[in-house]
């Protein structure tokens, strides 16, 4: 039986020794949640299918800290580890792979230099190259306004989705769904799709975005942004074609343990690894 994956995400501030896990709300306010490798171990023991570390430190002087986080984690955590944030070159990727990471997730670097996707896929294999897409709704009043964009109908109105870079601080004008199709052609192995409108809100995943994008590409898609309770994960698996769901705050603050979320999903008929 092929299982849906539950992936906790650790947003890491590496500007302090050993790093710390933080959680922003709508990509802004920050709360602290713990030491990265300790939380990773806890999640592994709770049944996490994979763990994502996102470096949200703006400065590039902290790279060594992420290497240390991954090295310590991989000593006793035996599920796939993904590193995102701060990966701009093949060398950056090699450094975290050598530390024990299995995949890198790239967003800003991929949009600024799409060839990086091809190169990562060529050097390390498609399976090691996750493209992260941070998508923001742009509501429209007429179709003419959204010329050339993929228009999606939502309960809040029609919109297209714009890719954002630098952790939500800059917008690109790029259509998120078209970009997903392009990175698939370039050899990406997975797409980590975050709704910026939902991230940190606990209102649930952006079902419309996730549904349309996961039907447009054949790659595995990971839904992210907005998970506030187990029902949200059930909903995204039921209504869209994603094969994995990522969440942060519901796991960090012990609101719902990973084990309990999986038990709930299994009872609702979703195949998960228990």
């Amino acid at each position: 039986m092929f299982c849906k994956r539950i992936i906790p995400c650790l947003d890491c501030d590496l500007a302090v020794p050993r790093g710390r896990v933080v959680k922003g709300i709508e990509f802004k306010q920050i709360k602290y949640a713990g030491v990265p490798w300790k939380l990773a171990k806890k999640y592994y023991e709770d049944g996490a299918d994979e763990i994502v570390f996102l470096d949200i430190t703006a400065s590039h002087e902290r790279r060594g800290t992420m290497v240390e986080v991954i090295e310590r984690t991989s000593e006793d955590v035996f599920v796939p580890l993904t590193v995102g944030g701060g990966i701009n070159t093949i060398e950056d990727a090699r450094r975290v792979f050598n530390a024990g990471a299995d995949k890198v997730a790239i967003n800003t670097a991929a949009i600024k230099n799409p060839q990086l996707v091809n190169k990562l896929a060529k050097y390390f294999g498609s399976q090691a190259c996750v493209v992260a897409i941070d998508a923001k709704r742009r509501y429209i009043t007429s179709l003419k306004e959204a010329k050339g964009k993929t228009v999606v109908r939502t309960p809040e109105g029609s919109c297209w989705y714009e890719c954002s870079i630098y952790g939500g601080r800059r917008f690109t004008g790029l259509d998120a769904i078209k970009w997903a199709e392009e990175v698939e052609r370039r050899g990406a192995g997975e797409i980590l799709l975050t709704s910026m409108d939902r991230d940190g809100t606990t209102d649930g995943y952006d079902i419309q975005l996730t549904k349309v994008l996961s039907e447009k590409v054949r790659l595995p898609v990971i839904a992210s942004g907005g998970c506030g309770k187990p029902e949200h994960i059930y909903e995204v698996f039921k209504k869209t074609k994603v094969t994995a769901a990522l969440a942060a705050s519901i796991f960090h603050y012990n609101i719902f343990g990973i084990g309990n979320v999986k038990k709930y999903l299994a009872e609702k008929g979703i195949t998960v690894r228990i």
Partner: protein, 195 residues
């Protein structure tokens, strides 16, 4: 030397190393073919068949010697693919040919790569997979071997039947990554240590 992990520059060897360490073994990561003299050999690896075959070539005489003297050899993912004769992934490139058959792209309507946890089904008694029937393991691949002999030990379903593990004599292979498959994967590596 009890256990050698062949480092032929195909992905990091660290996870496999860490997993064996965690189980109390003392693995050695071997970078030089002449140093490959252990009682047990593990060939990990992620990446393309062609590059893998090229990089593994200098180690093949020692690996063949180990197989002939019935030492346990475990190939993981690409490491297993290289036991076969050739692969659709890299036409014209020869594998080790320990097993007859070809590595082919998975013929499925499901999404590729096949990434994630999928449960394995035991098809044939093999000590490596003992106690693991029905356990989910972590897969990440688009190709799998189609052996031309009766060596398939475990399979999984992904829109079609996928070869998940093979064994014959002392040669073992897994398509999934035991070093990334949580407790069930560690159990498999423990089984390997006990062979």
């Amino acid at each position: 030397m009890d256990l050698a992990i062949v480092d032929y520059s195909m992905g990091n060897m660290k996870s496999v190393y860490n997993a064996f360490r965690y189980l109390g073994a003392k693995p050695t990561v071997v970078k030089k073919p002449s140093d490959l003299k252990a009682d047990k050999i593990v060939i990990p690896g992620v990446g393309a068949f062609g590059d893998g075959a090229k990089n593994l070539a200098p180690f093949i005489p020692q690996i063949t010697k180990a197989i002939t003297s019935r030492k346990p050899v475990l190939g993981i993912c690409l490491g297993m693919h290289l036991f076969f004769e050739n692969s659709e992934e890299s036409p014209g490139i020869r594998g080790m040919g320990v097993f007859r058959g070809e590595v082919v792209k998975i013929r499925t309507r499901q999404r590729l790569p096949h990434i994630g946890w999928n449960s394995i089904k035991i098809k044939k008694e093999c000590p490596l997979f003992r106690g693991l029937d029905g356990e989910p393991m972590y897969f990440v691949h688009s190709y799998h071997p189609l052996p031309e002999e009766d060596i398939i030990a475990v399979t999984t379903r992904y829109g079609c039947e996928v070869t998940a593990g093979v064994c014959r004599g002392g040669v073992y292979g897994t398509q999934f990554h035991p070093e990334k498959s949580g407790g069930a994967g560690l159990k498999l590596l423990e089984n390997f240590l006990e062979l």
